[in-house]
Amino acid sequence: QKEVEQDPGPLSVPEGAIVSLNCTYSNSAFQYFMWYRQYSRKGPELLMYTYSSGNKEDGRFTAQVDKSSKYISLFIRDSQPSDSATYLCALGRTGTASKLTFGTGTRLQVTL
């Protein structure tokens, strides 16, 4: 079993839709939870960073962490074609937060 599971998609939604992206993990040592966005032929860029359970909002993006279920989510409201990219969840452990374990990434396509 992989430490971090993420549905690879692809996920296709119409412009304006609400998108839900998810990851599950198996190791309770993970305490830091991040979402990176990766455009085609580019490096990943940090989108959201959370440390504890609960929600964190930034514009159209909301990150949600449920440590009891070992489940993290990223919601995108009013999705735009410019949101078309691969979204990677990344998890870090206490004491080694910068050593990240990435999910496989979910490819999202927002259509006009």
Binding site: P8, L46, S98
Partner: protein
């Protein structure tokens, strides 16, 4: 502020040949990482440097891969000899350490024939 610079962007070699990738991190970032991203997969950490010392190289195939970070700034990643399964994008990232906020370069795409 300049981002993480990597070169070359693309490289095609035959198996058993050697290749080297170069990375220049963001100025002032003490921590530097090399990740391998195979098509359809998430990045996998190969090696992590703190200044010019190695913090973690547990997933680096040391029989063929080597990396160095001279003077705590630029870094090179070398593969010798290359295998078909080394075809991937090699991502360099830097950070200020202690957090998961990494800044990635655009990557070096390697194709081994």
């Amino acid at each position: 502020e300049a981002g993480v610079a990597q070169s070359p962007r693309y490289k095609i070699i035959e198996k058993r040949q050697s290749v080297a990738f170069w990375c220049n991190p963001i100025s002032g970032h003490a921590t530097l990482y090399w990740y391998q991203q195979i098509l359809g997969q998430g990045p996998k950490l190969l090696i992590q440097f703190q200044n010019n010392g190695v913090v973690d190289d547990s997933q680096l195939p040391k029989d063929r891969f080597s990396a160095e970070r001279l003077k705590g700034v630029d870094s090179t990643l070398k593969i010798q000899p290359a295998k078909l399964e080394d075809s991937a994008v090699y991502l360099c990232a830097s950070g200020q350490g202690g957090t998961g906020e990494l800044f990635f370069g655009e990557g070096s795409r390697l194709t081994v024939l």
